[in-house]
Subunit: 246 residues, 2 copies
Amino acid sequence: MTYCAAIRLKDGMVFASDTRTNAGVDHISTFKKLYQYGIEGERFIVLQTAGSLATSQAVFTKLQNDIDQRTESNLNTVLTLFDAAQMVGECMRSIMNHAKAVANADIDGSFTSSFMLGGQIKGQPPELYMIYPEGNCIRATEDTPFFQLGESKYGKPILDRAVTYNTDVNHAARALMLSFDSTIHSNLSVGMPLDFVLYRNDSLTLPEGRRIDEHDEYFNTIRHQWSEVLRQTLIELPKCPDGYWK
Amino acid sequence: MTYCAAIRLKDGMVFASDTRTNAGVDHISTFKKLYQYGIEGERFIVLQTAGSLATSQAVFTKLQNDIDQRTESNLNTVLTLFDAAQMVGECMRSIMNHAKAVANADIDGSFTSSFMLGGQIKGQPPELYMIYPEGNCIRATEDTPFFQLGESKYGKPILDRAVTYNTDVNHAARALMLSFDSTIHSNLSVGMPLDFVLYRNDSLTLPEGRRIDEHDEYFNTIRHQWSEVLRQTLIELPKCPDGYWK
């Protein structure tokens, strides 16, 4: 499985993906699921994926090849992020449909992938899209500032509590770190290292991003502190009144 | 959907189920999904369910009818809790197989239910079983002291962090309350009121249990305090060092 999340805030964006893939518990590997595209000063795009690794890798490869070969329409030339999201959706459907034809299969089944695409193009607002396996997409809004892909439930409560559109970028990044920490604790199929990218709106830079592994000092500091406060808070919660449990 | 959880501890057991059922968002109702059986001083049994309400209700009805009609083998006469779990599994399979035959359906599909059964019979240790839709079951151990049914992922991280076999019964009950609170926050298909039952090992009493609704003062105190500490802790976590986000 996989866990990816992305948040679109008033002042910036945060993207995070784990790197574990598994086909049964015997085949656990590390694969990057977060890729960056763009042109310094002009556009910044992050693409994240969950689902069939074969489909996802084929999509990433096709998109990169189109950029390298300067195909007329590619992620570095599309006019809007909506067009970019449409391009990813169409590319994915074409790869999935081809895989289905090769396998002579009727249903999408094991060829299914999902994507999230976020970023900013010069002169336009930052945007974040969730691209469904069907190829269509939805955009994050101020009411719904984050999207998740894959093994998303374990880490959703903390984002629900901590993140709104007006949340500070670094604060949201910390909440996202803890969201990943909770997921890794509870689910074997999501694992380190984690790829994180922070973007400041209108900077139009291409941040290098940070790969967080189990030796990352800051990540370990906040996960341990969080864990300790949770443990301590649970102990200190008021005892139940006499007769509460009948 | 549904969320049920049960914990078997050194000193007692805690059982909790929500009461929301839904068939699409138009059909949301309140149904009890936690039932108690037993004989004061001799045996105490709790049965919880998730899945098809038709199957689950049929199982509850059959088990209760067998008790009322003093059928030779019923939950009040079985020799062990393992036998009780087997009885529930067989009863459920027979009801599911009948429903499949009536519908002329090949797969279990929408007839599927799962159960958890826990309690104690005099002279025997307390036990907790998870009964799969196939009718077979597994038992909770000291290594794995809790089971969950239904919409279980949102509320699993806090149980993973807070509950071991040696955890105090009231402490575990509070962790379970917060596990339900997180789930209700993040998922519309799980809702109040909640049915909680606390059992002290070897007491062989039949606790009345507590139905927790949105006006429950103690529940609201701890959920608000928890929420506030989480919020405050996130704010107070150390800021990331300069240059951390490249």
